[in-house]
């Protein structure tokens, strides 16, 4: 991703430069799969061992907020895709507009997440801080419920961190887009940030059922 869209020294052609950037982005996303993969493995094993406890703990999460956030995030993926499209067809104004929309939706997501975290905090459901699952829960129940919430915070926290980084990248894109940098010939940064943003969306697509939707009957 070169700042100006000019050819940087190590490359021979713009084509080669773009090819490299895209390849690099995809490889990075492959590492991300494995990075989250370790968490998913930990989750799977614990959920299997403490199935009923996980179901019980999962039911304390706010399904409405979680569902709302899912819609918001998928929506932001749509606007991100539209931003890429606008760049590809050369509608410079639209690029900026869609990037801003994406950023806004991302912020809404993070805001809701913050509300949820606050609730957990009030309910003493934050591991490591006076964790207490139910009023008179015994030691073992507490420990197993804490496992669920550790994973909940670990997974959503890491996901949120990715969102924050994504938001930072969006701000950077918006600035450039306002300067009219992105053209049908040069839009690799938009495309690549797009790829990243969609990936973060996919992670959430898995987190939502795994954390919020355990045996809600």
């Amino acid at each position: 991703m070169h700042r100006t869209g000019e050819l940087s020294g190590q490359f021979q052609t713009l084509e080669q430069q773009k090819d490299s950037a895209t390849l690099g982005m995809w490889i990075f996303l492959a590492t991300e799969i494995l990075f989250f993969g370790g968490l998913f493995l930990t989750y799977t094993i614990n959920r299997h061992t403490y199935a009923s406890m996980f179901a019980e703990a999962s039911r304390t999460l706010d399904l409405k907020l979680g569902g709302f956030n899912t819609v918001v995030l998928i929506g932001s993926s749509l606007t991100m895709a539209m931003a890429v499209w606008s760049a590809q067809v050369g509608k410079k104004k639209l690029v900026t507009l869609f990037l801003i929309l994406t950023l806004l939706l991302g912020c809404v997501f993070l805001g809701v997440k913050a509300i949820e975290y606050k609730q957990k905090f009030d309910e003493n459901h934050v591991p490591g801080l006076n964790f207490q699952f139910e009023k008179n829960a015994d030691q073992a129940t507490n420990a197993h419920a804490q496992l669920f919430f550790s994973l909940y915070f670990g997974m959503t926290g890491l996901h949120a961190l990715h969102m924050v980084i994504g938001a930072g990248l969006l701000v950077w894109l918006i600035k450039q887009s306002m300067a009219g940098r992105f053209t049908p010939q040069y839009n690799t940064p938009v495309e690549n940030v797009g790829l990243y943003w969609h990936f973060v969306d996919i992670v959430w697509i898995y987190l939502f059922p795994l954390l919020y939707l355990i045996d809600r009957h």
């Binding site: 190590q10 490299s20 690099g24 590492t31 991300e32 420990a143």
Partner: protein, 563 residues
């Protein structure tokens, strides 16, 4: 295809260094610390991994001195435990894993494929800074309380019980992981998109194939160790329970996650060294390597199959019998591509024109020591035998044979081989051969007795051992002092040669790779004109530019079709 190449001047003694090259293109600390030139970054890595090798080596020396007597008089038990842990951490994560990839790989990959630089030069510099940051965290941990968990960080010892500075060490290794990932990413993209015209996949030097395979592991393995250590660190900081059975967690899960990375990581350490050997042998036998395709493919095979064997470190943890059977069988499978390499290297010598310059001595030493290390890996992968030798000195001997006898020998050999390219100077040949022989002898004396110790039942990580094991331990310590001397020599004469060595010229050996077709040291942009490749790798017969005799008249014959 005619071999019309006109870049290299004809061989003649009395070379001059090129007027301007990457070392003197700009001056000042800033020009080094902010450089994006892959060659300079390689030198930054060279300095830093050497530093960590010293750190690790000093710990190793103290370990060996302590083990001279059964009760050990040098240090307390706590300190001893810190010594081997810090030795392992410094050597593995901060010396051996980055050594060949980040030093030789960085320097050579663009030169070998005819590119001006790697695909993402800034990312490359960033990798180095990340590495240094991680290193600082780890050094901080060493300096403030040390680290006594073993390099494997098994929970719940590391996450609950240890009183040492575990958290900064874990953070350091976590951070360092991103350096590996970025390096691997950079290499893969570079190899895919930056090859010079004519540099097809099957004309790539085998060193590049090895680096490519290594990068696959960097990319797909490293993230897992990152998340694993992050979880262990969080568990330690916030008293969570992922791996702590007292809170419902599972310590075996940690081992699965740890070895999912750390077994493939051993191939990160050996594959690049195999790549180096695959360059050295054809050069000093002056003939094409035997079975190019098989060596190239076996690198990829090792990288891929290497991901299927990790739980052979866990045969006695209580993993299921079925899992143990599967992982043992797969471990034998991964030995086959290594065997293929060994046989092909040996066959390359057949009907060669062999000279025994220093790099060749290291390469042949590598074959022998890697062979022993690899074969004893088969003992450990053998389920029935591992019951007895697991976690004994047999394991310690196995991995030092591969990592010190194999990987470090390959690294030092590679440094000698490309030293003329890196510095433009030749090292003193006699001293260099002497050092190679000293290292070989010292190494075997240090680590061979440990196989016997292991089979006799001496567990590893013991600061105190039954007296009947003393004789073998004394032998090992004696060997280690020879080994230390052996490492001291190259450090001295290589440094000396940078200033006082003879000027090497572009292609002193001569070798066939692209990197030898540009001045030594190369200019910042590597090649004056983008090279065009129209010869096969390691092809001496059709390279009149090298100035060597050819069996037939030096006609410009087609590059292939010779057999």
């Amino acid at each position: 295809m005619s071999a019309t190449m006109s870049t290299t001047p004809p061989q003649s003694p009395g070379y001059q260094l090129p007027k301007e090259h990457y070392l003197n293109a700009t001056y000042g600390i800033r020009s080094w610390l902010l450089t994006t030139d892959h060659k300079r970054i390689a030198l930054l890595y060279l300095a830093s991994v050497t530093f960590f090798f010293f750190v690790g080596g000093i710990f190793a020396t103290m370990i060996r001195i302590h083990l001279l007597t059964p009760q050990g008089y040098l240090v307390t038990p706590e300190t001893y435990n810190k010594l081997f842990t810090m030795h392992g951490v410094a050597m593995i994560f901060f010396f051996l894993i980055p050594s060949i990839p980040a030093v030789l790989g960085n320097f050579l990959i663009p030169l070998m494929i005819g590119a001006k630089d790697v695909a993402f030069p800034k990312l490359n510099l960033l990798s180095w800074y990340i590495y240094i940051t991680g290193g600082c965290f780890v050094l901080y941990s060493f300096a403030t309380g040390g680290l006594d968990t073993g390099w494997t960080f098994y929970t719940p010892l590391s996450s609950v019980y240890s009183n040492s500075a575990v958290t900064p060490a874990i953070l350091g290794i976590f951070i360092n992981g991103f350096s590996s990932i970025l390096t691997g990413l950079n290499f893969v993209v570079t190899i895919h998109t930056m090859r010079a015209p004519g540099m097809t996949w099957f004309r790539l030097p085998l060193f590049v194939w090895a680096q490519y395979s290594t990068s696959i592991i960097f990319i797909l393995g490293t993230p897992v160790i990152a998340i694993t250590l992050l979880l262990a660190g969080l568990e330690r900081m916030f008293h969570l329970g992922f791996f702590n059975p007292a809170l419902g967690g599972d310590p075996i899960l940690f081992q699965h996650l740890f070895w999912f990375y750390s077994h493939p990581a051993v191939y990160i350490m050996i594959l690049p060294a195999m790549g180096v050997v695959s360059e050295i042998i054809p050069t000093f036998a002056r003939k094409p390597i035997f079975g190019y395709t098989f060596i190239a493919a076996s690198s990829i095979a090792i990288a891929v199959i290497g991901f299927f064997v990790w739980a052979h470190h866990m045969f006695l943890t209580g993993e299921s019998t079925y899992a143990a059977l599967a992982f043992s069988l797969l471990s034998y499978l991964v030995a086959i591509p290594s065997a293929v390499k060994v046989f092909n290297w040996t066959s390359t010598l057949y009907k060669g024109s062999i000279s025994y310059d220093t790099p060749m001595l290291y390469a042949l030493g590598f074959i022998g020591l890697f062979l022993i290390g690899g074969l004893t890996g088969l003992f450990l992968a053998c389920l029935g035998l591992d019951i007895h030798i697991h976690d004994t000195y047999f394991v310690v001997a196995h991995f030092h044979y591969i990592m010190v006898g194999g990987a470090v020998m390959g690294y030092v050999g590679g440094l000698h081989f490309w030293w003329p390219k890196i510095t433009g100077k030749i090292y003193p040949e006699f001293l260099a051969r002497l050092a190679a022989v000293i290292l070989f002898i010292g190494f075997n004396l240090t680590f061979f007795p440990q196989f016997i110790l292991g089979y006799l039942g001496m567990p590893r990580r013991y600061h105190d051992y039954p007296p009947e094991f003393q004789v073998l331990n004394v032998m090992s310590t004696a060997g280690a002092s020879i080994l230390a001397l052996g490492y001291l020599l190259p450090m001295l004469y290589l440094t000396w040669s940078m200033r006082y060595g003879k000027v090497a010229g572009p292609n002193p050996w001569p070798a066939t790779g692209l990197e030898w077709r540009t001045p030594s040291p190369p200019p910042t942009e590597n090649f004056e004109v983008t090279p065009v490749v129209n010869w096969e790798p390691y092809d001496y017969k059709n390279r009149p530019d090298l100035g060597l005799a050819t069996p037939t008249a030096p006609t410009l014959a087609p590059a292939h079709g010779d057999d």
